[in-house]
Symmetry: C2
Subunit: 334 residues, 2 copies
């Protein structure tokens, strides 16, 4: 069976021979480690460039017994995850780590995605909004550094980076209360840990402000928002708190088609401050979860375990921030 590249790729040995030095010296020179003289270094680099040499990660990994690889499990269809990944990539670059992604798809569940990353010998796993039960997370943490991002878990050994979802929803409710709204509806009473936290925050905040806050079941997609909006119209609700921006978009879309004035007749809020929310024509009031801060904290947590030898569990909670835009306004008089 023919090997993929027709001709054999040049090895360190080839470079060393062509430059007239030992493999060890060539290795040091190419990695920029100190030791080699400026002259040797230059010569080795020149030869390597000429030969088109590229280090074999498998071999170097094997020899160093480090891969310097961070594995990220993400929901490939989630725009919020895309945003996190963007920032994780940047943070990983700065920390001198490589990053690979393993997506959760219809045919490839979270467990499978994790296994792919383990097989790649990733040194740490960053799990974005993982579904896995506590026991599984704990077992994973026994063999690899694991950071759960955006979701609480008490699994021992698992670092957690998340934003305070209940606080975030509380900010939204307080904002609406300040605008005079008395009848709120939360869309997205899903079953996940995240949905639960947001629902709890909503109910607590509503109670604290003396408002009526009802909860509509639903998932986390535009579709869910759309059907909730239909169910809602004509009721006494004056403000809709969506579980995330995608749901809010579904709500807004249905309202627009029905000719309902936003925010004149109904205020709408999202959650995530995703790119969607920032679009000029959407201009959605939402909550910034601090995606960048979370991404950086997650990478930092992994690196601390890998390079710093930390073993104690750590939990980083990023403060959410209310972003007021054009979809919220004073409650209508009636």
């Amino acid at each position: 069976m023919p090997l993929p590249p027709a001709r054999r790729a040049p090895t360190l040995g080839d470079v060393a021979a062509a430059a007239g030095v030992s493999k060890a010296l060539a290795s040091l020179a190419l990695r920029g480690a100190d030791g080699p003289s400026a002259a040797s270094r230059a010569r080795v680099e020149e030869v390597a460039a000429r030969l088109g040499y590229r280090a074999d990660r498998a071999a170097s990994l094997l020899a160093r017994r480090r891969s310097h690889l961070l594995g990220v499990v993400m929901q490939v269809r989630s725009s919020y995850h895309a945003e996190l990944v963007d920032h994780v990539q940047a943070a990983a670059d700065e920390a001198g780590y490589e990053m690979v992604l393993s997506p959760v798809t219809r045919t490839h569940d979270e467990e499978r995605a994790v296994r792919t990353l383990l097989d790649e010998r990733c040194e740490a796993l960053l799990l974005l909004g993982p579904d896995a039960p506590t026991a599984r997370l704990q077992a994973l943490a026994a063999e690899r550094a694991v950071v759960a991002v955006g979701r609480r878990t008490s699994a021992p050994g698992v670092d957690v980076v998340r934003s305070a979802d209940d606080v975030g929803v509380g900010l939204v409710v307080a904002h609406l209360a300040g605008l005079g709204h008395r009848e709120l509806a939360l869309v997205g009473g899903g079953s996940g840990v995240i949905a639960r936290d947001r629902r709890r925050g909503f109910e607590q905040a509503a109670r604290a402000s003396g408002l009526r806050g009802r909860v509509l079941p639903g998932g986390s997609t535009e579709e869910d928002g759309a059907s909730a909006a239909r169910a809602l119209m004509g009721g006494g609700t004056t403000a809709v708190v969506a579980q995330n921006d995608r749901v809010a978009l579904g709500v807004l879309d249905v309202l627009a088609r029905a000719g309902v004035d936003v925010p004149g007749a109904l205020s709408v809020t999202g959650y995530d401050d995703s790119a969607l929310a920032r679009l000029a024509h959407v201009d959605l009031t939402t909550v910034d979860q601090g995606a960048e801060a979370q991404a950086r904290a997650a990478v930092a947590a992994a690196v601390e375990r890998l390079d710093g030898g930390r073993t104690a569990r750590r939990e980083v909670v990023v403060e959410p921030r209310l972003v007021v835009r054009g979809t919220t306004g004073p409650a209508p008089h009636d």
Copy 2:
């Protein structure tokens, strides 16, 4: 410096020793190769399971000089790419290959993403809608199997899988012409290869049907669609052909807010048949590019080069399919 996992992971040697066989035998048994007796095989498997053995890919890669890894470069924020990746993953699973993703982000351009994958020793690169110039693609193809997905290129040695964009847009124009529309506008006259193909298809089809078809500049996001829609309202245009679904969504959103009846006053079409288009409340007439067929063809092309030894360039063109939904209707009488 402490190694990441506190305790050393069990190696093949450990398993072999515990099972009382040689490493070679253990290796064969665990890979399901034939040779070992059923009894040895069972014993080795049992021991491996008990020890929680997991083969070190780096070592096995090094020894076999194959990685069986497919690398995919994608735009992490593109929902269409997400869809492709989903299908690529499935096809790769079936073909016995692993897949890893390297996303293009703000800080990590396409070239960087490619390099990460090369460093991982991916045997083939599937580039989704690549920006790279022909010369670069050609150079890449000299050292690795390369498949460009969704974009034409004449780069020698690069396989291409795409759908016939001009044909697809032609279907849309014919559909609108059949509904009596005479004044069309294409939104998204970007500079990429894909945008160019769609524009060309639009202009040709409009000419062929004797329609007026004007082209509005713009990119490929909701934002671009929104501003184009604002520019368009009040003109004589009765149908808007968006370059992709995201652009169409931006158009629809602005129209809904302005109270324009779709499709009564204005018909709108998208391109991609993404999940967005299928949402009940969006119900967008669009073009299915055959994402699954493209993904499968791309994996097949890579595998043929890797396992089948094919070296000749191949181009697979998937026929697009018009998907008529609720955003197109008869041209308004005036």
